[in-house]
């Protein structure tokens, strides 16, 4: 690679340095762009805000540094010595600039942002040319920049949440954690209205499941470690189930909900994946193709919204058909049903990968040896499926814990962790309490991610793209095929009915009360919702482009370059994927509300939140794309003495255009449908479609909400279909797995 070419020249080489370009940018922005600002307006311009007027000594220092470095970069000087100067002086300038911002708490201006970024690029070039870091200048600068972004927009906000949970009004205390964890909103077990003791029931359930777990573990031979693990897992699950059924409070409720949703969703996902691979019926394939699109085109909580039409207190099924006046939908039941509908396609997309990774020849061999189909399934298929199932199961648990919209609409009188984060901040205005809930949620999610790593090792659970082996899969037994098809048909029918009810609801005056046809809701939507929709599309589009570019850069760095801290960069960039949306939203509002990084109340913070939310998907998409491109292409380019920036532009990007395009469209779609991470961040002029829709539905403008949902679904569907058409013309398929 580039290192080979340079080490031979090291020490004697001299010449110009590309750092002059960055230097020029820094110089211009220092001279003409505002260093700080007085308010949220980033485009504010006032000569008093120039760095030379605002902080003369800092301005002088930075200008001197930049001028010296720029001039020396234009001269033919020894690379190594100048590299040291670039890295040392540039680094000092960067630290002085950041230090001034932090010390004075002046919100950064455009000039500061550009100048500091340019300085960092110069540092990167210096580190590379001096040989301190064995990568070429472009790569080194990219490493520094992406690390800075990840630190500032992922790690720092999360750190703020941790800090707020123990730092109340500037004083370190654990009281807040204690008072939240003991509050009845968090856990409450005893019910004073009943004669029996709920605590006793919970204890009994815990014990029973604990013993059951130990018993199951001991079945295959009594070994202490196994039995103890079984006992521990059983006790844990027992407590969750017991406290979820008999008790209340956000903590047991959320866990219990996840435990209900995950197995059902995983099972349905497996059914769909098996059908897709082995069913001969054409309708099955066609409907599964639609199923795989659903999570992309469905705004959050739309299923929850539609469910109230069918199963609500005056729903078609519950009230009109069964004559019940029941609130059964509002609480764990309703949220669980809505989540099963929303997450099954996700589980399907994950399991599809591992089902396709199955090896047909193994099954053929087993059949040839006259094994009973059941034995084949138990001894061959099942063990191969287990990692995929575990991945789908754990991911569903995480999605369920982090889900915000469904509990918001259908939660009824139960509390959930993700909504409690929101209510603590917006309702009770207790940032510390919100932070404690956020930390609890974060710990749970990270524990589950940890478990997954432990079980599945480092295998990526999203795209298991094994090469399909030779041989043909034996079709499913007829009875099994029938059963699975029935499940799919029922599920599909339910989804069609749910979508239809949204569509229908948008065209009637008042659903169920006055069913006469009207365009009223669409007229209202055009007047009131259209500007918001356009704004949402604009913000989502900007964020999609940036997310794709940054994601691409990070993916390239972590998969094609060797450098210290590579693992950290990868983990850091994935953190925002693992973090539940509400927690990230709280983190952003706590971190960027005051001080040098003031960004709340602007459209930019929404863009940033979306960028760092959707970037991990782009990273994974590009990494999987890169793994299919042989390194020799890049090596050839490098040997022809192209710097890595040229290699990227001329070799990798053209080859990866389908992945980049798909990544961008998915980021756009996810940006349009995001709610949990941005509901805190909306501001005048920057209201988003999902938030407006939630507000309409909550206030009873159901028709208008339905019209908005219909327009969004159709719009997103169009976008996705265009993407498919384009990628077919480009000659490569687009994998939906990356979008999950």
């Amino acid at each position: 690679m580039a290192v080979i070419g340079r080490t031979s020249l090291k020490g004697i080489a001299s010449g110009r340095s590309p750092a002059w370009m960055a230097g020029l940018v820094a110089l211009i922005s220092l001279l003409v762009l505002p260093w700080g600002r007085t308010d949220r307006n980033l485009l504010e311009f006032d000569s008093r805000l120039l760095v030379l007027n605002q902080a003369p000594w800092l301005g002088g220092l930075l200008l001197a540094v930049v001028v010296v470095l720029t001039l020396s970069s234009l001269l033919h000087l020894p690379l190594v010595q100048r590299g040291y100067a670039l890295a040392g002086l540039g680094g000092a300038g960067f630290l002085a600039g950041v230090g001034w911002l932090v010390a004075t708490s002046v919100p950064f201006g455009v000039g500061a942002f550009i100048a500091l970024t340019a300085l960092l690029v110069m540092v990167g070039i210096g580190l590379s040319e001096s040989g301190i870091i064995q990568n070429d200048p472009f790569v080194t600068s990219s490493i520094l920049l992406t690390s800075l972004f990840v630190l500032l927009f992922i790690v720092y906000p999360l750190f703020t949440v941790l800090r707020e949970s123990v730092l109340v009004k500037g004083v370190f205390t654990l009281n807040k954690i204690q008072s939240v964890l003991t509050s009845p909103l968090f856990i409450s077990i005893e019910n004073p209205y009943t004669d029996h003791s709920e605590q006793l029931l919970v204890n009994l359930t815990t014990l029973a499941l604990g013993l059951l777990g130990a018993g199951l573990a001991a079945r295959g031979g009594f070994r202490w470690p196994r039995v103890l693990t079984g006992l521990g897992v059983g006790l844990l699950l027992g407590w969750i189930v017991g406290a979820g059924i008999f008790g209340g409070g956000a903590f047991p409720t959320s866990l219990y909900l996840a435990l209900i949703v995950a197995p059902i969703t995983t099972a349905l996902g497996l059914v769909f994946a098996l059908l897709e691979q082995r069913s001969r019926a054409a309708w099955v394939r066609r409907s599964l193709a639609v199923v795989s699109l659903l999570p992309l085109i469905t705004p959050p909580f739309v299923f929850a919204f539609a469910l109230t039409y069918w199963l609500g207190r005056s729903g078609i099924i519950t009230s009109d058909l069964l004559g019940l006046k029941t609130s059964f939908l509002f609480g764990i039941n309703g949220v669980a049903i809505a989540q099963v509908f929303a997450f099954t396609p996700v589980a399907f997309l994950i399991l599809r990968g591992s089902v396709q990774g199955l090896n047909a020849s193994l099954e053929e061999a087993s059949a040839t040896l006259r094994a009973h189909p059941w034995h084949t399934f138990r001894d061959i298929t099942w063990p191969l499926l287990r990692p995929g199932l575990a991945a789908a199961f754990l991911l569903t648990i995480i999605e369920s814990l982090a889900d915000f919209g469904n509990p918001m609409l259908l939660g009824g009188d139960r509390n959930f962790l993700a909504t409690e984060v929101f209510l603590a901040l917006t309702g009770r205005y207790d940032p510390n309490e919100a932070a404690v809930y956020g930390v609890v949620l974060l710990c749970l999610v990270l524990t589950i991610f940890g478990l997954q790593r432990l079980w599945l090792g480092n295998t990526s659970f999203v795209t298991v793209t094994g090469k399909p082996g030779a041989g043909n899969f034996s079709p499913l037994p007829v009875w099994l095929e029938r059963t699975l098809q029935t499940i799919l048909a029922l599920w599909g029918l339910a989804v069609v009915l749910l979508y239809f009810s949204i569509f229908y609801g948008s065209f009637v005056q008042i659903w169920g009360i006055n069913n006469s046809f009207t365009f009223k809701h669409y007229v209202d939507l055009t007047n009131l919702g259209l500007p918001v929709l356009l704004k949402t599309a604009q913000l989502a589009f900007i964020s999609a482009i940036i997310a794709t570019l940054v994601g691409f850069l990070i993916a390239y760095l972590v998969s094609r370059q060797q450098f210290w801290g590579r693992g950290l960069l990868e983990v850091g960039s994935m953190l925002s994927f693992a973090t539940p949306g509400t927690v990230m939203g709280v983190a952003y509002i706590l971190a960027f509300n005051t001080g040098p990084w003031l960004l709340t109340g602007t459209g930019i913070i929404i863009v940033l939140a979306l960028v760092f939310r959707n970037m991990p998907a782009a990273v994974r998409g590009v990494i999987s794309g890169l793994s299919q491109i042989d390194k020799s292409l890049e090596e050839a380019s490098t040997l022809l003495r192209a710097p890595s920036s040229t290699t990227l532009r001329r070799v990798l990007i053209p080859l990866l255009i389908p992945q980049l395009l798909a990544g961008m469209v998915f980021a756009f779609v996810r940006g349009m449908t995001a709610i949990s991470q941005i509901i805190f961040l909306i501001s005048p002029g920057n209201t988003l479609a999902t938030v407006l829709m939630l507000r309409w539905i909550e206030q009873g403008d159901l028709g208008r909400g339905a019209a908005m949902a219909t327009v969004m679904i159709l719009g997103l569907l169009t976008v996705i279909l265009i993407l498919f058409a384009v990628s077919r013309r480009l000659g490569r398929g687009t994998s939906l797995e990356a979008a999950v």
Binding site: R313, D413, L423, I513, G601, I682, P684, E698, Q699
Partner: protein, 342 residues
């Protein structure tokens, strides 16, 4: 230079991003945080723009959320004016120096009763009276009587039939707690709330929300401000309105200027307009039936008139006090809300 030519695609991309982000810039506006119903909030912008040429940018959130938001941004407010919502949070915001008092041009025309109740803390915008919304058919099907008094709500016949908002997010709910405390005394009021807690189907986030389930026949009783119920009734929902026999409380909807507002002059212009007859009639067009504060505003039919009801002497100053407010909400959140309802 060659560099420009070679990278033309990238420059186009950068230019595209820049032009798209210019949309994020802003001019001659007033930023309003709005805590009345969505319809009313949405009607304000076009009407004010037509009257003055100033753009209105509105975020609508429930009253307590608005207070939380303004408090969070106290050092650096995004909003200029806080429009509507129950008065107690407006009073609290004034006490905590989040808002400031501004004497609107039409101040002399405003209802003397409303002005006397709140002094120079915020500007009265409208008056709303707390009541029960009833869906007679639902109650009939259950064989439950129509509730006439606060104490009737504890009747087990109403199990799962009541909706009321959550004081953590809704100003309506706090007005109701304060009303009960003033009628019955604090402990007695909390016992009452605990006694009907089991009958509550759901505590809604927004104070306006119970009427939805009520109108759809999902519940039988919704406790909220009467004017929102009148609006729904006029839309054709089968509901009736009852005023509780022990007396009922009321809100004085507030209008406040945010302290340190970035567009102060525009904000003041907006406030002047909002309490003028022309501004208050915007509410009527949006289907609002609360009693407007400007005595010169011509009324329309259907507005609940305070003279027709047994109103308590609501102590706005005492119950707008932040400490008491927070204590009562915290007590409700710890003692009433988490109790199971099975």
């Amino acid at each position: 230079m060659a560099i420009w030519k070679r990278n033309v695609r990238w420059w186009v991309l950068v230019a595209l991003l820049l032009t798209m982000s210019t949309g994020l810039a802003q001019q001659r506006v007033v930023n309003v945080i709005c805590s009345v119903t969505q319809n009313w909030c949405e009607a304000l912008g076009p009407a004010f723009k037509q009257a003055t040429g100033i753009d209105v940018r509105i975020v609508s959130v429930s009253t307590n959320e608005a207070l939380a938001r303004l408090r969070a941004e106290q050092a650096n407010p995004t909003f200029d004016v806080w429009f509507g919502g129950t008065g107690d949070p407006h009073y609290e915001a004034f006490k905590d120096a989040i808002t400031e008092w501004y004497r609107v041009k039409a101040y002399n025309d405003l209802s003397p009763v409303m002005k006397a109740a709140i002094g120079t803390t915020y500007i009265p915008l409208y008056q709303g009276i707390l009541g029960f919304g009833i869906n007679p058919k639902v109650l009939q099907d259950r064989g439950a009587p129509i509730p006439r008094c606060w104490k009737d709500l504890a009747n087990p016949a109403y199990r799962g039939l009541i909706q009321v908002s959550n004081p953590n997010t809704s100003g309506t709910a706090y007005t109701q707690i304060a009303t009960l405390v003033q009628i019955f005394g604090e402990d007695e009021a909390f016992n009452l709330m605990k006694s009907y807690h089991r009958n509550v189907a759901e505590y809604t986030r927004s104070g306006v929300a119970p009427r939805i389930a009520l109108g759809r026949g999902e519940i039988g009783i919704g406790i909220q401000f009467m004017h929102d119920l009148v609006e729904f009734k006029k839309q054709g929902f089968p509901i009736e309105i009852v005023a509780p026999c022990e007396g009922t409380g009321y809100e004085i909807g507030g209008l406040s200027l945010v302290r340190g507002a970035k567009n102060k002059a525009n904000g003041q212009a907006f406030m002047d307009w909002a309490v003028s007859p022309a501004g208050q009639q915007v509410g009527f067009q949006a289907g609002i039936f609360s009693l407007p504060s400007n005595t010169k505003t011509p009324l329309i039919e259907g507005i609940p008139d305070p003279k027709d009801f047994k109103l308590i002497n609501y102590d706005a100053k005492k119950f707008g006090n932040p400490d008491l407010r927070q204590r009562l909400i915290a007590r409700w959140t710890r003692e009433v809300f988490p109790l199971p309802r099975r």
